[in-house]
Symmetry: C2
């Protein structure tokens, strides 16, 4: 069937309406159809609404059980989780951290909070995450191992960590990245903010690196209002994470002695109460989001210039944000599609501006980014709420 490229925006509007109805439809809305109300009331009645309370403990235990991580430490948001995870990974002032140019600003910001410098690398079209082959080739020309440490030969700075992000919930090529991290002496930290409920070869994202982080912002698969968590398998590191995410106070009956600079990042009990209720519904949300993917696949099958992104081989994706990729031949129509869909009340958005195009990161070390640049020109997120399925 021939599609007139001039008609493409309206074709996409109609495909969205076929799945979502007439709208208006948000990009991603939370759904509170479980015990949210009961847990919030119980939390309020207990008067323990703040940083100590049974819902925080339970939420952490439930997250650990769900993800298979040995420990989960709940914090105020995913950015805070990433900040402390990087500190625990040994990232120091003036280190570099490798991360994808195609990510949300928080990934780079967390590196900046450590006084470190993002070093931006390319993505793969299969996973939308860091491409291990391209990364290996890039490091081969710009880095060397020196006494177990990876040095950027151009800047002279230590490259301490590799920070992949599982974009829109699709697991990136973790085996490939673990190989690069091993060969170049890098600590792997996973930004799994978008991938709660996503598995790579049967193991949950965020549990492969030394540390991984989750987000429960209002637009995520489950929400605590604002919230995040650090996933850790090492128990000593988990104790350090609890210490640093509080005020680093030493336990004592009454004394106030803090042996380090803490960050006061603990998730309040009332937000954790919401999280416990949300987590109970996660399997249902994931099933709904997978069903929504099937419905979109059907609806978009008649538009050959558009590909709906599917989970990578060997992976189970949470399908957090459903993603269209325009063919390169029609990529110049992207803004028309964004305009037509948003005007029709179907909320859509393009990829994040690539990190090296943002003022604070314009001067960062940057690998060639042919794939990320192409993806950024062609990518459109479409309405993805579990409630749409």
């Amino acid at each position: 069937m021939h599609i007139d490229a001039n008609d493409l925006p309206q074709q996409i509007v109609r495909a969205l309406q076929q799945v979502c109805g007439q709208g208006p439809v948000a990009l991603h809305e939370p759904r509170f159809s479980g015990q949210e109300w009961e847990y919030l009331k119980a939390c309020l009645d207990s008067t323990f609404v703040s940083s100590v309370g049974k819902y925080v403990d339970r939420f952490e235990a439930d997250l650990a059980a769900f993800t298979g991580a040995k420990h989960a430490i709940a914090v105020v948001n995913g950015t805070a989780a990433l900040h402390v995870a990087l500190l625990l990974a040994g990232v120091e002032r003036d280190d570099e951290v490798l991360l994808p140019a195609l990510t949300f600003a928080a990934t780079a910001n967390a590196v900046h909070y450590c006084g470190a410098i993002p070093h931006l690398v390319d993505s793969s079209e299969d996973s939308l995450g860091i491409d291990p082959q391209a990364l290996r080739a890039w490091l081969g020309t710009t880095a060397r191992r020196e006494g177990g440490v990876c040095i950027n030969t151009r800047t002279g700075r230590r490259i301490r960590a590799l920070l992949p992000m599982h974009a829109f919930g699709h697991p990136c090529d973790i085996d490939g990245l673990l190989g690069v991290a091993h060969d170049f002496g890098l600590v792997l930290v996973e930004d799994a903010a978008e991938s709660l409920g996503s598995w790579y070869q049967g193991r949950h994202t965020g549990t492969f690196g030394l540390l991984g982080t989750l987000s429960f912002n209002g637009n995520k698969t489950i929400t605590t209002g604002g919230g995040g968590a650090i996933l850790i398998n090492d128990s000593a590191l988990a104790r350090r994470a609890k210490h640093l995410t509080t005020t680093a106070k030493l336990p004592h009956r009454w004394s106030y002695v803090h042996d380090e600079v803490g960050f006061n990042y603990r998730l309040p009990n009332i937000n954790a109460a919401l999280g416990c209720a949300q987590l109970e519904q996660l399997p249902g949300f994931l099933a709904s989001k997978r069903h929504l993917f099937e419905r979109y696949r059907e609806a978009f099958s008649s538009i050959p210039q558009v590909r709906l992104v599917a989970e990578p081989q060997g992976c189970t994706s949470n399908y957090w944000l459903q993603t269209l990729l325009l063919d390169a031949g029609v990529e110049q129509r992207r803004d028309d599609v964004l305009d037509a869909t948003n005007t029709a009340g179907m909320m859509t958005r393009p990829a994040w501006e690539l990190m090296h195009r943002l003022a604070p990161y314009a001067a960062c070390p940057t690998a060639p980014l042919p794939v990320a640049e192409s993806l950024a020109r062609r990518l459109i997120n479409i309405p993805s709420s579990a409630g749409l399925a």
Copy 2:
């Protein structure tokens, strides 16, 4: 009447029991006797539980109205508020910031987050806050003004800001501190984390400096679970505060362009819903806490070696934490008092460890601290919940 010093701990236990009953009694508990449940339910039903929502807007407007600040920006906690306030005050890496040695660690930590160095100074026995006369004398020997900038002549670093903290809710000598800030070219930022509901000469604490900060942690006069706010009179600065406490994204129908490093510190709507309900009850809480002070004054009037700290002249204190000061002659009994009271189920605590005694701040520039040292040996906080009155 003669009191045997050996009996002092039990005298104090009996005075506490006279006011609080047999216990156990917490140091400070929140009270949810207003519209908390209704607002939480309305927030949940709206599905706007995260960083956008009408309760955040309303909480900010209500805080501004209550304090008289032109703008209030709600954030995840008081530490985050202080971090951004200091950045907006122009505090940069390797600057120094003057703050009391007698404070909670968060005051110093926020300075550290900016890459700056706490410079610790002495307190006054009247207000428990920074002593302006001692500060002026200290700066006279260690600082000089050079082209409008204050330089520490010993370290060579710029001293950028003066950061007083209103300890336990008692306003410090703001006029005196404003005079020192003016004469030495320092920006005044107020840590009013403990003093919501405290006024200095009829004006609310936190509104005298270029910026001021509040906390709504679970142990504060009102709570949002975890939360804080920045108070600002300058509208351009308030816009910058909103920008930096989010992800610094430029407004656009769909694009994700961030022109600065943001901090993702915005208070979730669900926490703000709690805050709106709590703020409605604040006048009642303040009346109760003042009444509790009167009851303690009566109960402790028969123990001459103990003074109950009263609001400074010309000030109205929120009496956040009621505070006993032991006479110097019996200060060696402090730990016995702490032990006896806590053993009796009356939760009490000493002053925070002075900042220069904490490992992360042991090497910081430090003025002579005769008063802070004395206060730290003699000070005991006693149960202070509004519900005790």
